[in-house]
Amino acid sequence: MCLAIPVKVIAIEDDMAVVELGGVTRRASLMLVPETRVGDYVLLHAGFAIQRLDEEEAQETLRLFAEIAAAEEGL
């Protein structure tokens, strides 16, 4: 029920940000994640950033996936 997509924050002015995904930019409110900085990745939903993405956790998950993929190749 909740379409939210991961976007990169490329500019901030007060509590509004310009966010980018695949070359497409939009404006988003940072009222819900005021600690966001330029360069962070956030989840965009209905014109608002609703949470910041944790790069380390993402990498951890991807590492797990890489192991799984390696297991597949090994078969």
Partner: protein, 360 residues
């Protein structure tokens, strides 16, 4: 695209699917609570990768589907008021109420505008000072904080022509209601990833602690979903239920504290009518008294004929997981995406729409 493509890798999916196919335990029903999960599952063809003893049930996490006729009728009535601009997310436009839909009202001349964000509705209010902009606030805990922010912003800007109809609903009470009803056995929950970015994992603890059912908070990319299902099956095999987070890159156990603060500042829980589940206590959100001037239902007198249900429509059963779409007598006959009788068919993520488009 970062955080998207890496979670759609075909070779990882193949291996995850192979491991899932190896599940040899008892047949289980896993419920994906969230409508966006339903869409993702169908869109990526995930059902075709699951073993036959794993059955996915679509739950009531589709705000469009669970909005009661009465709540739609209210919005349609307001839209028809002269001087009112009704702003709505695209999702609600085609949903049938008791007698009409916002799309039909628009065709008949009502000023109904589709917006992507409540901030767009605020913009419309600024540009049209002589009109009243009413925002049709649907959605779960993911969306409510954003709506709360729009009201705070309206206050800050001194706008007196912006208000909302809140039909927001809360997920944990709905899950409790499902578990309390005897209709269908649910062996595990794929919990909604984005609602959880706001509320965290603690509100779901009761599912494991009290009902002994596993739950995994899952992301929406295909690899997230495959991994989430794998984690549920592992718990089922292991025999001990707990709430786990698969979507670790976006969900923290405490959720988004700031968002929750705004949500609680402006809203309070109230009883709400869910299509298919009936009245669930404290499962909806209503604006607090201090913000009554932003509540369209308290600002305007909404008149209209009493709500009514469509005979034959089994949306309620489908939403509870008690029936599959083909078991509804209207499915694909009187009820199609072009002529939807019930919201399960209209909503882009409605179970019936997904079956109709992807599964036949």
């Amino acid at each position: 695209m970062k955080y998207i493509e890496e979670f759609r890798q075909g070779d990882v999916a193949t291996e995850l699917a192979r491991r899932l196919k190896a599940y040899a335990g008892r047949p289980v029903n896993l419920m994906e609570v969230c409508g966006t999960h339903t869409v993702s599952i169908f869109r990526h063809g995930i059902r075709s990768l699951l073993p036959p003893n794993v059955n996915m049930l679509s739950g009531p996490g589709c705000p469009v589907c669970v909005t009661a006729n009465a709540d739609l009728d209210k919005a349609i009535a307001l839209a028809r008021e002269p001087g009112v601009i009704l702003a709505t997310f695209g999702d609600m436009l085609k949903v049938p109420g008791s007698y009409s839909s916002l799309r039909e009202a628009k065709a008949e001349g009502a000023d109904v505008r589709i917006v992507y964000s409540p901030l767009d509705a605020l913009e419309i209010a600024r540009e049209n000072p002589t009109k009243s902009v009413v925002f049709y606030a649907i959605g779960f805990e993911t969306t409510a904080p954003a709506i709360a922010c729009s009201i705070l912003e309206a206050e800050r800007l001194g706008l007196d022509n912006y208000s909302i109809i809140s039909v927001h609903k809360l997920i944990p009470p709905a899950i409790r209601a499902l578990l309390d009803s005897d209709d269908v056995r649910i062996d595990g929950f794929l919990l909604p990833g984005h609602v959880s970015t706001i509320i965290g994992s603690r509100p779901y603890e009761f599912i494991a602690d009290h009902y002994g059912v596993p739950g995994v908070i899952t992301g929406f990319e295909p690899l997230d979903i495959l991994q989430g299902i794998a984690m549920l099956l592992d718990q089922i095999i292991g025999g001990k239920a707990r709430i786990e987070i698969q979507y670790r890159r976006a969900v923290r156990p405490e959720g988004n504290v700031k968002a929750l603060e705004y949500l609680h500042r402006l809203f309070e829980p109230c009883d709400a009518e869910w299509r298919g589940l009936g009245l669930i206590p404290k499962s909806g959100l209503r604006l607090r008294e201090e913000y009554a001037s932003f509540d369209a239902e308290r600002r305007f007198e909404i008149n209209g004929p009493p709500p009514r249900e469509h005979p034959g429509c089994r949306c309620g059963d489908v939403l509870r997981g008690a029936a599959t779409p083909p078991e509804c007598p209207l499915f694909a006959k009187a009820c199609t995406p072009e002529h939807a009788v019930g919201p399960c068919m209209v909503s882009s993520e409605g179970t019936c729409a997904a079956w109709y488009r992807y599964g036949r």
